[in-house]
Amino acid sequence: MKNTSPTSDSLRNVPDDNGHFGPYGGRFVAETLMPLVLEVEKAYNASKDDPEFQKELDYYLKYYVGRPSPLYYAPRMTEKFGGAKIYLKREELNHTGAHKINHCMGQILLAKRMGKTRIIAETGAGQHGVATATVAALFNLPCTVFMGELDIERQRPNVFRMRLLGAEVRAVKTGSRSLKDAMNAALQDWVSNVDNTFYIIGTVGGPHPYPAMVRDYQSIIGREVREQLMEAEGRMPDSLVACVGGGSNAMGLFHEFLDEPTVNIHAVEAAGHGLLTGMHAAALTGGRAGILHGMRSYFLQNEDGQIQEAHSISAGLDYPGVGPEHAWLHDNGRVSYVSITDNEAMEAFQLCCKLEGIIPALEPSHALAYVAKIAPTLPKDHLMVVNLSGRGDKDIFTVADRLGVTI
């Protein structure tokens, strides 16, 4: 891999020692959790300097996850849109079918290193839950996954996968019964089981060091893209597109290129029924700064500071917040944050199936829908890389329901 170490005016030398990305991030957790959060940070920092840890991680990423994932030129999609040359980063081909396994592998090796004997996680779409259950099975650690009752209904295949993998899936019945509430429940469990438990967080969110740690484990996506596109085209991409819920797949793709001024970066939030309806999950486009789940970032909230429910057809984007690094990249303008509705994502989902023979997850279908908007306006020599962060098998019930089909 090419060495791209950050410089002093780099956008890649955040967060600071207290986990701040500009004004965002931090460690807004109960005192009970503070010693644990500090312990995770210490162990994570030590692991970064340990060649043995890196070697073990590299081994599992190659032989178990199946990395590197291909960077695939999508000829029919490119032809259809008639503009930019579109490449798909095939994260959906990873073991378990999404990018989530990248940070799960890193975190479980860290948990082992710390001597933890029990794993917990939250999940929305179930992809992070499946990936966590998978690595927990691999390393023979008991695993409890917290999942909103609503998400359990709409992501049944993943619930069954987790159970097959030996994980306990605990239904969360409070609040909006989706990802935010699953994260509350996981944090409550962690507070109650501080001695033996490692919390594998599924996005670039939560208290420091999680946003930085998950980003670092995901940034292999962008490093591979740089190398693979260099091999295919002899140069860097002109633009990157990824969907953002909490923002792990997007940070994974973007981080490598933040200091490359010629690379335009687009992050796509879920507009649900439309931003004007208030029924959406676009924290950056439609929310404001606040504090939840251990971090300062952007959140959907009412005028009294109460967190509001998010709405998206995609369970993985159905979260009223976003990772703090995204909040910072939003404010400093390095990344442009846009949004795509449920209907637009549904169209792109179907288009991708028919044009490329790939059933994408509903999450990256939001990214594909934005590609459909901008690719036609760009020249044919414009190189665009889209993170195809997950496969859509898990979504077929939702899609069939939306199309009025019984399966």
Partner: protein, 276 residues
């Protein structure tokens, strides 16, 4: 109308002089509704409250168990907001300028209101201190330091996970009293174990002269008595919320005898806390 020194310091000094423990009931603002809550609040001093902790409802109360979560949801249905909570304090102060009031709430509604504006308004309304569970000492610059400059205290939490390395960080700059969390878990989840507390309290006493109040898992007069012997004060929350809930039927109708029964329940626990 404001006392020259913080009501909290004055109250703890008076209790110490009298050899009494502090009984600190907790009530969620706006629960069970906006009419009954101020009646409960006004009745608490007579029911034995030395200090009152008012819960500020939040949509995502991560450190709280089912009893307080339920109270939050009900309070939102009743229309509770941050300005209305400060109105309740203002109303209470019309007849009671002695009993200290501690607001317990998560940071986001305060941050959303505006920290400086909130501190000024809370001070004017008659608040004395805050407990903000999601603001550890690492985030002091956010709230504790500007609060301190207005003679408003931010209560530090000491927990069973606060080890020798951590304790000095927590005790540094602490004022008013220390909130000793008796269990690792959420509020109301388990009963506090007095013997396990002895060690923690002993460690705190070696490094701090501040009064220690114990919360999380105190449900009965007997527990309040046992715990009270260990510390300088006892905080009771979930048990009171559960008592209020017992007067609300499945359709949300509130029974007529709620205020009297809850206050007599509080009186009983306060007797335990006061060693009676």
């Amino acid at each position: 109308m404001n006392n020259p020194i913080n009501r909290l310091e004055a109250r703890f000094a008076a209790l110490k002089a009298a050899g009494r423990k502090a009984f600190i009931p907790f009530a969620t603002a706006g629960y069970p509704n906006l009419d009954i809550f101020p009646q409960l609040l006004a009745g608490l001093p007579k029911a034995g409250a030395d200090i009152i902790e008012i819960g500020m409802p939040f949509s995502d109360p991560m450190a709280d168990g089912p009893a307080i979560q339920t109270a939050n949801i009900q309070a939102f249905k009743a229309g509770i907001t941050v300005p209305k909570i400060l109105d309740f304090v203002r109303g209470f102060r019309k007849t009671d300028n002695e009993t200290p009031i501690v607001l317990m709430g998560y940071y986001n509604p305060i941050y959303s209101y505006g920290v400086m504006r909130f501190l000024d308004d809370a001070k004017k309304a008659g608040v004395d201190a805050f407990i903000i569970p999601d603001l550890p000492p690492e985030e002091d610059a956010e709230f504790r330091i500007p609060a301190d400059s207005r003679d408003l205290f931010v209560t530090r939490l000491v927990t069973p996970t606060t080890d020798e390395n951590r304790l000095p960080t927590v005790l540094k700059d602490a004022k008013g009293f220390l909130y000793c969390v008796s269990i690792t878990g959420i509020t109301g989840a388990a009963e506090a174990n007095a013997s396990k507390l002895t060690d923690l309290i002993g460690r705190i006493r070696q490094q701090s002269d501040l009064p220690i109040a114990i919360g999380f898992g105190v449900n009965t007069p007997e527990q309040a008595r046992t715990i009270g012997q260990e510390a300088d004060g006892v905080i009771v929350g979930s048990a009171i919320m559960n008592r209020i809930a017992s007067h609300i039927d499945t359709n949300g109708n509130i029974g007529a005898g709620l205020v009297d029964d809850v206050l007599s329940f509080v009186t009983n626990i306060s007797r335990g806390a006061h060693g009676g």
